[in-house]
Amino acid sequence: MSTNEPVIRFEKVSKSFGSKSVLQDVSFNIASGSAFCILGRSGTGKSVTLKLMIRLLRPEQGKIFIKGQEINALPARDLPPLRLTMGFLFQTAALFDSISVGENVAFPLRRHTNKPEAEIKERAREKLAQVGLESEYDKMPADLSGGMRKRAGLARALALDPSILLVDEPSAGLDPMTSVEIDRLLLNLKSERDTTLVVVTHNIPSARRIGDELVVLHEGHFIAQGTAEELDQSEHSIVREFMKSEGGG
């Protein structure tokens, strides 16, 4: 259940790469326990927005608050505890290619918990089962298809039961059935664990299923923000076109 308390807050955030401005004075709040979907064409800065939330990138201007803490003002030693409460599924899954799929999922558990080895493996298997990959524990990431790697990446992001889950293109490379399964898993996380979801996607049906609030990022600005129904009625033609596109991953 959403408590409407902002767990993520952007205040006039700007970010550029060289002469290319990606975000310009962007401000928004994300309520705790809600699902926030960021839509937009490729290269508009959606993934950058996610990376700013976990300080993989820093903005040139503006402030970003995560659970009330200004993430870019935190000293290095205070950053890991905050990051431990967040999970990140990368667009490319970013699995560690020198260890097995199961070891990828077990990695954060080994690093950050004192659980016995048997329990860690059990937990990693559980997380893989959640994404339908229980039989792939011993496989190497290179032996998985793109969609399977994505699901394994999601299992790793969920390993520590984060209260905020940042998801970059969850449907990319997945067949429609698996995509719906992943959406269902994300919705279960939201309803059962009160996980805050921030999802970057091109997949409009998926965004309609998951999102409590949708935003459309265009030329460095959020040009529309609201529920799927509100965006369907937007005055902005780009937003209406986008919502009609039904584009898959």
């Binding site: 990376k51 976990i54 993989l56 290095a76 950053l79 890991p80 505890p81 990051r83 431990l84 967040m86 999970g87 990140f88 990368f90 667009q91 490319t92 970013a94 699995l95 560690f96 290619d97 020198s98 990695f107 954060p108 690093r111 950050h112 790793r156």
Partner: protein, 261 residues
């Protein structure tokens, strides 16, 4: 033209400064907990143990070749008995440290550059950070330390296999006994012949670990960037190693003048 040369010099100095500060940061972080012991041991195995066959084989071959060359020169003066001594001293003082350094720069430098470069361009380093792991400590510090620890050990191995190679060559030609050969090889060997030259390879290990980690950790541009990081790691590590060797040899001679006495 002059402006272009000036710009190149400035760019080179800037790069050297960045690499230097990257290496110093690695040394500073190495002293600060948490210590990534498990990863350090894994890197020691990868960098050290897996280099053993290459270093041992190269040392053995170098020993044979040096023995043959020394014989052809010393025979003219009737000083064949000096072959084991000359061989042991040359290997310990210079040949083994430099050759082992260049071989490790080739094998390990390319590996580190490619591995970290690959991790950077496939977002695996970002993934480590997102999992609340200090990627610099986990990936860079462990590799730099492993190179610094492994290099003197590998150098000693090369000296030893070189002496063995020399013995094999000698015994085939002159039927020299194992005991007499080693007596002659080590009779003139002193602390200053082995220790300073072997310790200087800690610096070589630092150079190889730092340069290749820097290039891999900061790689950009997909597969091409990874390839570039790997190649440049070998080129710059080897070049810096050779140049630094000149300075280190001069320092050793300055602090241990008995070495040239």
């Amino acid at each position: 033209m002059i402006e272009r040369i000036g710009a190149l010099v400035v760019a080179g100095l800037t790069w050297a400064g960045e690499v230097g500060s990257f290496g110093l940061q690695a040394l500073r972080e190495a002293l600060r907990p948490p210590f990534e012991m498990k990863e350090l041991l894994r890197q020691l195995y990868d960098i050290g143990s897996r280099s053993v066959p290459l270093i041992a084989a190269a040392g053995f071959a170098v020993g044979i070749v040096m023995s043959m060359h020394s014989r052809s020169s010393l025979e003219r003066f009737g000083a064949e008995a000096m072959i084991p001594t000359v061989l042991a001293l040359s290997l310990a003082r210079e040949i083994a440290p430099l050759v082992a350094g260049l071989l490790v720069a080739g094998r390990v430098g390319a590996g580190i550059g490619a591995e970290l470069g690959g991790m950077r361009v496939t977002e695996q380093i970002d993934a480590l950070e997102s999992l609340a792991v200090d990627s610099f400590k986990y990936l860079v510090v462990t590799r730099v330390l492993a190179c610094m620890i492994a290099q003197p050990i590998l150098t000693t191995l090369m000296s030893f296999t070189g002496i063995i190679g020399g013995f094999v060559a000698e015994t085939v030609i002159s039927n020299l006994s194992f005991r007499l050969y080693f007596d002659r090889a080590f009779s003139s060997m002193e602390f200053v012949d082995y220790v300073p030259a072997t310790l200087k390879t800690v610096v070589f290990g630092f150079i190889i670990g730092t340069v290749s980690s820097y290039l891999g950790y900061n790689a950009k541009g997909g597969a091409e960037g990874v390839g570039r990081a790997s190649t440049m790691s070998v080129v710059f590590s080897s070049l810096l190693l050779i140049l630094t060797n000149v300075v280190l040899v001069k320092m050793i001679i300055f602090f241990f003048p008995e070495q040239i006495g």
